[in-house]
Structure formats: C-alpha cells, structure tokens
Subunit: 375 residues, 2 copies
C-alpha cells in the first residue's frame, strides 16, 4: 500500500490525513456519544481540546470509563523526551492530563525519558548531561501546568532506572526487532539503545499495577505520532497480566509556517515557552495565514481558517470559548479581519500566556521535590 505520510515518534512527514492515520494505527475516532460520556463523568464539562476534535482518536476509552463507573479508578500517564526548550505543542498532552486529573481526581505518572533523544538524535552535542539538564527545565514547565502535589509522580529515566529497567526487561521479552522496525522506521544500522527504548516508554503504562499489586486502568493522553510505542507494547503488557492501557490521541499543533506539525528543532516554525515578547512578535507576524495577497483581495474573498495558523493557534490554545472562536473563524472567512490586526491580537494573547507560564514555572522550581521521584 502506498502511503503519502510517515507518522512515528521519530519522523512525521507528508500530507497528514488524520482519519487515514487512525485507521492505519487501529485507533477509533472519538464520537459524540463518547464525548457526552466523558463530559457527564467529568461533571458536565468537556475540555475544549476534546470538544474541538484536537483529541480525535482513542483506544479503550469506553472500557476505561466502564471500569471507572464500577469504582475502578484509572491513573494517567504521559511524558516528554527532553531535546530542547519545550514548545507550545509539547503542552497539549499535559494540558489534557491535568484536566483529567482534576475532573477525575486521578493520580498521574509523568515520564521524562532523558535518554531517548540522546539515543535517537544523530547530532552528538546532545549529551546525556545536556538532556538531563533539559529534563529539569521540562519538569518545572510541567509542574507549572497545575498538577496536584501528592497525586503526581514525575521521574527521569536515568534517575528511576532501578524501578523502570527491570519492568522494561519484562515487557521487552514480548517485543521483537521485527515488530518495531517498520513501525518506528528503524533499520539494522540503528543503535541497540534506541531499539530497546520503547520498552522503557511502555513501563509507566502498567507501573502502578506493579506497585499496587493489582490491576489499575491507565489512560495515556498523547500525540498520535507516539501511539506506536503503546500499540506495540499492548500485547506484551497483557501477557504480563496487566491491563492494556487506554489512550487518547491528539492531532499536531501546526507549525508557524503552516506545516502540519510544529517542529521543535526549527526555531522559525516553533514557539518555545521561553521565547521573549519580541521573538514572539517576530514569529507571529511572519506566521502563515493563507490570506489573500492584498488587503483588498482579502476583504473581497476572505481567507481559510482551517489552514490559517493564527486561527489554528486560537483553536488549539488561546480561545477556549467556542462562540468567540467561531467569531474569529467567521471574520477570517469573511475577510472582515486582516492579518495584521489578527496577529497583533494573537501576539498579545501568547505573550500573556507565556508570561503566566513563566511565572508559574518560577514557583514550580521551588516545588520540584514535591513531584520528582528517584530510586
């Protein structure tokens, strides 16, 4: 079968057809009934990222909620592999995880695999010391998202390997190189640390069950490109006697250039959490909108909010009110708003958001040990 896109944790390219990817990966689209069910169980509210289909696919969510309704509470697991300053896109899984924690009073495991990018990236300046340092910066940003102390464990792989490695070994026994090589785009020339790594990422999906000595359902919010780790590990986890994890998959935050996925390694395409106001201004004003070449033509023909980065950033992050979002989209479509004004407004929202995040991060730096667990 010919495919025009590659979507795995180490490469995303081509035209992204999210429905086709869901089919390819064997995940289910989130339907209205499931949205209603989550909303009801969350106490009447639904996170805008689910409402708007930014989270668009899932595995075993209905089973997870069945268990929840039987009184069998779930825990959440998500994470980030440090490779540089966190971007806006990186916050998507943490935003939803934090929401689930709040609404379902759930415990959260957050893995910071500080070896992953060291193993995966070709460039040798990303040392293990560097990823370790970046990991701590990520942790501060994550705590700043509002996770609950006492209900949230954050761990770096290099600091928690005594716990993780022996369970990774157990799950690795059911995963062959043949099972992973196409799924991850690996060849025999890839290093054996990178080949093994998926076992480490699988562990937190059943770790709480190991620790409690009984099966606890697990829900993993993640971007769709990360799905392969758990798709591969599911059967091996089940063979060990644990529940297969449930998961909920998001689309990608588009890059500022209009690319379907913001690339953390391309500064011009990306908003970093530590970008200062001037940098944000420059980036936002250069962002792709797909508007007509002149103001006159834009007023006459309007633009397309579906491909307009500015509109999409409101949708993903900066406007959680659907009515107001509709107004923004309508204005773009009708041509009643021009790029300059549109961008000025977004720029203000972003800088305000980032300033708030940075302030919370400063406070988080003093609370790191309330969250980090080490062997």
């Amino acid at each position: 079968m010919e495919r025009d896109s590659v979507v795995n944790p180490y490469e995303v390219k081509g035209n992204i057809d999210y429905e086709e990817i869901a089919k390819r990966f064997g995940v289910n689209l989130i339907d209205e009934a499931l949205k209603e069910r989550i909303k009801r169980l969350a106490g009447g509210e639904l996170h805008f990222m689910i409402r708007r289909g930014i989270y668009y696919a899932q595995r075993d969510m209905n089973w997870l909620l069945d268990e929840y309704e039987k009184g069998n509470k779930f825990y959440l697991y998500t994470g980030i592999g440090p490779s540089g300053t966190m971007t806006l896109g990186h916050l998507i899984p943490f935003a939803l995880t934090q929401w689930f924690q709040e609404k379902f009073d759930a415990e959260v495991y957050i893995q910071i695999p500080d070896e992953e990018k060291f193993l995966v990236k070709k460039k040798s300046d990303l040392t293990l010391e560097k990823t370790h340092e970046l990991a701590y910066d990520d942790v501060a940003n994550i705590i700043a998202m509002g996770f609950k102390k006492g209900k949230t464990k954050i761990f770096l792989d290099t600091e928690y390997a005594k716990t993780l490695y022996k369970n990774a070994v157990r799950v690795s026994r059911g995963i062959t190189f043949s099972m992973i090589k196409d799924a991850f785009g690996f060849t025999v020339e890839d290093n054996i640390g990178k080949i093994f790594y998926t076992s480490m990422q699988a562990v937190p999906a059943f770790l709480m069950s190991v620790e409690k000595g009984k099966n606890i359902p697990c829900l993993i919010p993640l971007a769709i490109d990360q799905d392969v780790h758990f798709r591969i590990a599911r059967d091996s986890i089940a063979k060990l006697g644990y529940y297969k994890p449930a998961s909920i998959q998001s689309k990608f935050l588009p890059g500022l250039s209009g690319k379907p996925k913001m690339s953390a390694s391309d500064p011009s395409d990306t908003l970093y959490l530590n970008d200062d106001d001037e940098t944000v201004r420059k980036k936002v004003f250069k962002a792709f909108t797909g508007q007509q070449p002149t103001a006159e033509l834009q007023k006459k023909h309007g633009g397309n909010p579906e491909i307009c980065t500015v509109c999409q950033y409101y949708r993903f992050f900066f406007e959680d009110d659907d009515t107001r979002l509709k107004k923004i989209f309508d204005a773009e479509r009708s041509g009643s708003i021009l790029a300059g004004e549109h961008k000025q407004d977004l720029y203000e929202r972003i800088t305000k958001y980032l300033a708030g995040q940075r302030q919370k991060k400063e406070k988080a730096l003093e609370r790191m040990d309330d969250f980090i667990v080490r062997d």
Copy 2:
C-alpha cells in the same frame, strides 16, 4: 568461510578448535614471554590455569601490565548470568579473578546480570523473580571463592540499574543491531531486551573510570564464548573516552560426557556445586574417559588423557601440582590405572572440594552485605 563451530554466549556447538577461534575473534594466544611476565609481576607464581593453557588467549594484557608497571593499577571485572545452580565450570573466571586480586591487590567488580537468562531463554518458567533468587545463591558461591571485603563490589543488574542503565545507554549508542546480529546469532525475531543486553554487560568494563573520573585499566577474565560482548563494545567504550578493557580468555571445562563444553542445562553432563556426594559418585562413575573397552585392553594400549574427562578435571581443578598431574596423565596413557580407581580418586577430591565450597558458602551467606552494592 565455512566454520564447523559456533561459539557465542548463547550457543556453543561443533568441533572447538581453540586456535581457530582465537584467530576468528582477533585475540592473541598467550605466549611464554607473557606467562613469564605475569609470573614475575605476581611475585613469582603463576596460576595453574594460565600455566597449563586453560587460559589460553588475551587482549591487551601487555598494555595492561605496562600500565601496571607505570603505577597505573588495574581493576578486574567478571560475572555470571544466573540460570540455575552454579557448576564447576562457572568457577573458572572467578578462580582466576580471585588470584589476580590477591597477587596484584586489585579491586574487583562482579556483575550478576539477573535479567540476561530471563531475556535469552525460551522457557518461560525462568521468571525474573527466579533469576533474582538464583543470583543471590551465585553471590554466596562467589564470595566463598575468597574475594576481599572492601575491594570487591558485587551487583545484580536489577538492583544496580540506576548506575548501570545510564552508562549502558551511552555505550549502546555506538552499537548497531547489524554489529551484533551475526556475532550473537540473533535474528530480527529476537526480543529487544536481549538485543540491548550486551550494553549492560559492557558497563562494568569502564564503570570504575566513570566513578573515579579518570581512566583506570580493566582486566576481564572470561570464557572465550563471552568474548563477543567486549569485542563488540570496545570501540564504543573508546569513543566515550575510556580505555578499552584488557581480557584473558579461557577454554571450556569439558562436560562429563566428553562434550567440549559442560552444559549447565544438562544435569548428566554437569557437576553442580550443590550436588551431594551420591550424585557426584554416580556422575563421575558414568563420566567419559575414552579408555579401552576392557581392563585388559586398557592395560595393554592405555588411554588418551587429552580426551579423558577424569584427567581433564584434574587438570582444570583438582590437581594444581604439575608433577602430580603429569603422573596422572602418564598413568592414563600407559594404562597403569583403570577407570574405576581413577574415578574413585577423583570422586573423593570433588566431594572434598564441594564440601569445602559449601562450608565457605554458608559463612558467605552472613557476609553478603559486605560485598553487594545496590542503588
């Protein structure tokens, strides 16, 4: 090139031509000059296993001794992957390591990779809990060999993974699947834990240098089938800026059936350290000697001590005096000793040795924490 033997940590089969294997693996035969040098630096004595060519090959031993003479002391590293009760053959690396420790006042690292056989063996009854339990039994047997408290660190992989994993990750970055698959006899259908494992085994070969923050030479006594781990890791270790380890390779203790390598998984071929006297008697009296079919013929034609298990067990373990060993070999060759008498004598030596080992092991059980390090 057609080879009639397979020699790697996970399979030994075919006719073993030790010189050919040394050539194939790129290790050097131990010559008389090196024997003399080791003897001189050891204070005038040479361990009988080196003297007799049981340890027959080496890598970088002259470099190691150059460093030693410059005042740059080496440490030793050896280990065992628990899979069942230890056998006599398993003691060979520990015997030489202990000797080097004593003669060169060297520190010793002993790795007990309790995940290895769990990953490698197809049979699922060898759980990680079981290998962990076996590991402790191995540790007691190892301490009983006479290692020095305060100069010997013993660690299980599952208990020391915080230290080991992050260094395994570093060394794994320079090892591709393509580099290991033929060397270990792996295919794409092998599990990814097994594929990664060699990185864990490589770590203690440079761990002391990591810990001390400066390069310390390392000497690894090991059976020739284990060589591949270090052959593969050498370049990656060097790329990290550490010395490549020196090593000294032994031949295999033959099986009781006359097979070139005692098989730990075939009880009838193997002497276990916990075999009781009656079991030893039965096994020894069934052992292959290659003697003539009748006493009369044996007296007339004599036997061949090179293929006689009884003679070989004296050579490997139970007669460290060369003059007395020569008498045993001569008697076998001339036919002046018959199998029964020969075996009765060996049986007595073995049971005495095993009783001593068990007694020392009992004492070792009380001293485990003097040796075991954990994260």
